[in-house]
């Protein structure tokens, strides 16, 4: 009996039959349920699930980042080669850089232990430690990159340079920034005024307009995509040479109009929680309604406006459907559309590392914004979801 060929014949067949993402997830779930039932404190099992989930996410991200620093030939033949440019022990420069990096890592860990030992530490000292950790991390990363660079390796940034220039990711990012910032400014201005009028002023038909905006949140964007396209195709202002198609400003206007219902709905709660007495006092002192809005209520509603701004910014930064339809000119494409066309046009058919560099360029700004504003994002999400 030939064990080898038997197993070779049997195993792949089995693997193919059950190799299906659905079944993998199903097994994972069954395992999780067993773990949860088995563990009385429920804590170990939950750690296991979460570590598995987060571990996968980190592993995938690292795969993308590390591969994006190598050449495409290495990626196909031996993917681990992307790392060896940083871990060349025979070269004194790279070895020194590795030692420096290890020292930085040790410093970060020591600071983390300090922080964990003293949970009641005063905020200034805590922030000093955070700053120290950040500095050490940056220094370690820089040492690693500098070591590779001084050693003559330039693979690690070549893909990024190519994605940024040849694949035009730089331009796309600039467009995304302009469109997102412009729309968010316009949205905040319009919706703050509208919400103030809808909550603090009295006029006939107020509730009707509010209901109109709330009901409009149910309209899927797909419903208005085609009619809007057919309508805006013909709108062309000759004297200004302005058209809604292929124009950043046109997209800003469309995004603003689309985001208004949700933003007004979100802000209504904030404005309602502000006391009306302020407006009355201002009116007695002879303050006009516009000044009451701009100098009293607008600053008071700042937390709500910040939340709305963050949500709209991220939504518009990631928006894909309308940008895909209304923009064909490569000079004004946004990041998601640009990345999609990078895949479609097969500019990098066999060049995964360059595509990975594009993915990293797409992910990094979102990740930074997310890390910095996480508290506000969570507060806004809970406010919009739990109370809405």
């Amino acid at each position: 009996m030939n064990w080898n060929s038997d197993i070779l014949a049997a195993v792949p067949q089995k693997m193919i039959q059950i190799a299906n993402p659905f079944w993998y997830i199903a097994w994972f779930t069954v395992g999780v349920v067993i773990l949860v039932a088995w563990d009385r404190t429920r804590l170990k099992a939950l750690y296991a699930i979460k570590t598995g989930w987060v571990g996968f996410s980190i592993f995938a991200m690292l795969w993308v980042i590390i591969s994006s620093m190598g050449t495409s030939k290495d990626f196909v033949q031996s993917p681990e080669k992307a790392l060896t440019q940083f871990f060349d022990y025979h070269n004194p420069i790279t070895f020194g850089a590795l030692l420096a990096c290890a020292a930085c890592l040790a410093g970060i860990l020591i600071l983390a232990v300090l922080l964990a030992r003293h949970p009641q530490m005063s905020p200034p000292r805590k922030y000093t430690i955070f700053a120290g950790q950040t500095t050490l991390g940056a220094a370690g990363l820089l040492a690693l990159l500098a070591g590779a660079h001084l050693n003559g390796f330039s693979h690690w940034y070549e893909n990024y340079v190519r994605a940024w220039t040849i694949a035009r990711m730089g331009e796309y990012m600039l467009n995304s920034v302009m469109i997102s910032v412009g729309s968010v400014g316009l949205i905040i201005l319009c919706s703050a005024m509208a919400t103030y009028a809808l909550t603090k002023l009295e006029f006939p038909g107020r509730d009707g307009i509010l209901y109109l905006f709330v009901a409009a949140m149910a309209i899927p964007a797909q419903l208005i995509l085609v009619p809007l396209f057919l309508m805006l195709r013909h709108w062309h202002i000759q004297t200004l040479d302005f058209s809604f198609m292929d124009s950043r400003f046109g997209l800003i206007i469309i995004y603003t109009a689309l985001s208004l219902p949700f933003t007004i709905f979100l802000l209504t709660g904030f404005f309602r929680s502000l006391p009306t007495e302020l407006a009355e006092a201002a009116a007695i002192d002879g303050c006009s309604e516009f000044r009451t809005f701009s100098q009293i209520y607008f600053p008071l509603a700042a937390p709500g406006l910040t939340t709305a701004a963050i949500f709209n910014f991220i939504g518009i930064w990631n928006e894909y459907n309308f940008a895909l339809v209304f923009i064909t000119n490569p000079q004004i494409k946004t990041l998601p559309v640009g990345l999609y066309y990078l895949v479609v046009t097969q500019q990098y058919a066999a060049e995964w590392p360059a595509l990975f560099a594009g993915i990293v360029i797409l992910f990094v700004p979102t990740f930074l914004i997310f890390l910095i504003l996480q508290k506000q994002i969570i507060a806004g999400l809970t406010l919009g979801g739990v109370k809405g």
Binding site: L8, S57, L258, N318, Y320
Partner: protein, 383 residues
């Protein structure tokens, strides 16, 4: 603001109008008017570029569902009528209860339940029981539903487990886990789609790489005892059979975070006194879970589910960017609509038919959102 005097009232109304004007104008021109126009366009045959749009009436809707479904409209319509009547009787019984004892049992919101039941029976029969009409479109709706149910169940289970862990006071490094699980919800759907497309690639992808590595490790260990090498055939994660499952997996990965955050916030809002009181009364963990935690976060669970259902029906970027080949097994309604209206594969733009699909999508979204609203509890808990 309280105003006295007729002139002051008119003045305030004018000021309010001035402050509302930009929003109303933008909304009316770029959302309101197109939304109404969509219903009109769905009644025309129009390539979008020919000057003439031909009035075809309900042809698109007829062709979409096929003659059998419309013929069955007679019995289903009768059932619908009966459901409406029954529901109406149900609903009326509260305003004028014949018997005071019935007041608690009959809730007017359930008046809509039979109607929704008949509508969903019709829908299910069309999706899985018939064979005519636009086959491609039916596959698209099926895929939407598959994403909604399969993805929704797994996503909710994981979101709930993660939320349970994060809201435990003993859980260490909660912030790190929260960030890492929540982050994928905020990345562009296109980014997620392309990342997963590459992870699932059969030749160079991460998933097959990990499986191959595991097989190599196992055979290395076994080879100390017996000379053997386990060869694993690369799995076609992006083959036409597995493609949509991979898309669902990507959707789960990116969607768990926001659901988890909502659930965590809801769990943490429950006052600890409730738990303490229950413990004093001798309730065990299971009692606390089923009698305090679940009822207290019931509303949020329903909001979470509603958001997911609407999101799964509207999904576009994830599918459009991730599918290698947009055939009937991998397409969804909004992607099909985009293909018909803007992507000239056959050099024919079918604006009218694409808009008719969007109208059906709107109906589906409204029906599902209203259906989930029925499950909301009557008595609002204030705490």
């Amino acid at each position: 603001m309280i105003v006295r005097g007729k002139h002051a009232k008119i003045r305030q109304a004018l000021i309010a109008l001035a402050m509302l004007a930009p929003s109303l104008l933008l909304f009316g021109v770029f959302v309101g008017y197109p939304a109404v126009e969509a219903f009109r366009i769905s009644l025309y045959d129009w390539t979008g570029f020919s000057p003439q749009a031909d009035w075809v009436g309900l042809k698109h809707f007829r062709g979409m569902f096929g003659p059998t479904v419309w013929a069955m409209g007679v019995p289903f319509g009768l059932a619908l009528l009966a459901a409406l009547v029954i529901g109406g009787l149900f609903g009326r019984s509260r305003s004028a209860p014949p018997d005071p004892r019935l007041r608690r049992r009959l809730n007017p919101k359930w008046a809509w339940a039979p109607t929704l039941a008949v509508l969903s029976a019709w829908l299910v029969w069309w999706l899985y029981g018939t064979n005519d009409g636009d086959d491609f479109f039916r596959w698209c709706v099926r895929n939407n539903f598959r994403l909604m149910f399969v993805g929704g169940i797994f996503q909710f289970v994981f979101a709930f487990l993660f939320a349970a862990g994060l809201s435990m006071p003993k859980f260490r490094a909660a912030k790190f886990y929260r960030t890492m699980i929540f982050f994928p919800s905020f990345v562009s759907a296109v980014g997620v789609a392309i990342l997963w497309q590459r992870v699932c690639d059969a030749r160079y992808g991460l998933a097959n790489g990990v499986i191959e590595g595991a097989a190599n490790a196992v055979s290395h260990v076994i080879s100390y005892v017996h000379p053997i090498h386990l060869a694993v055939a690369p799995i076609e994660w992006l083959g036409s059979d597995n493609m949509f499952n991979s898309i669902i997996a990507a959707g789960i990965w990116s969607g768990v975070g926001s659901q988890m955050i909502l659930l965590v916030a809801a769990i943490q809002r429950i006052p600890p006194t409730y738990y303490e009181a229950a413990r004093v009364d001798g309730a065990n963990e299971r009692h606390v879970f089923s009698h305090i935690t679940i009822p207290m976060i019931r509303e949020v669970i329903l909001i979470t589910l509603t958001l997911w259902v609407i999101g799964a029906l509207k999904v576009f970027g994830l599918v459009q960017a991730m599918a290698i080949q947009l055939d009937e097994k991998t397409s969804v309604v909004s992607v099909r609509q985009y293909e018909l209206a803007f992507s000239n594969r056959d050099n024919i733009y079918q604006m009218g038919y694409a808009t008719a699909m969007a109208v059906v999508l709107l109906v589906l979204i409204v029906v599902f959102a209203l259906g989930l609203r029925l499950l909301r509890s009557e008595d609002e808990l204030e705490f």
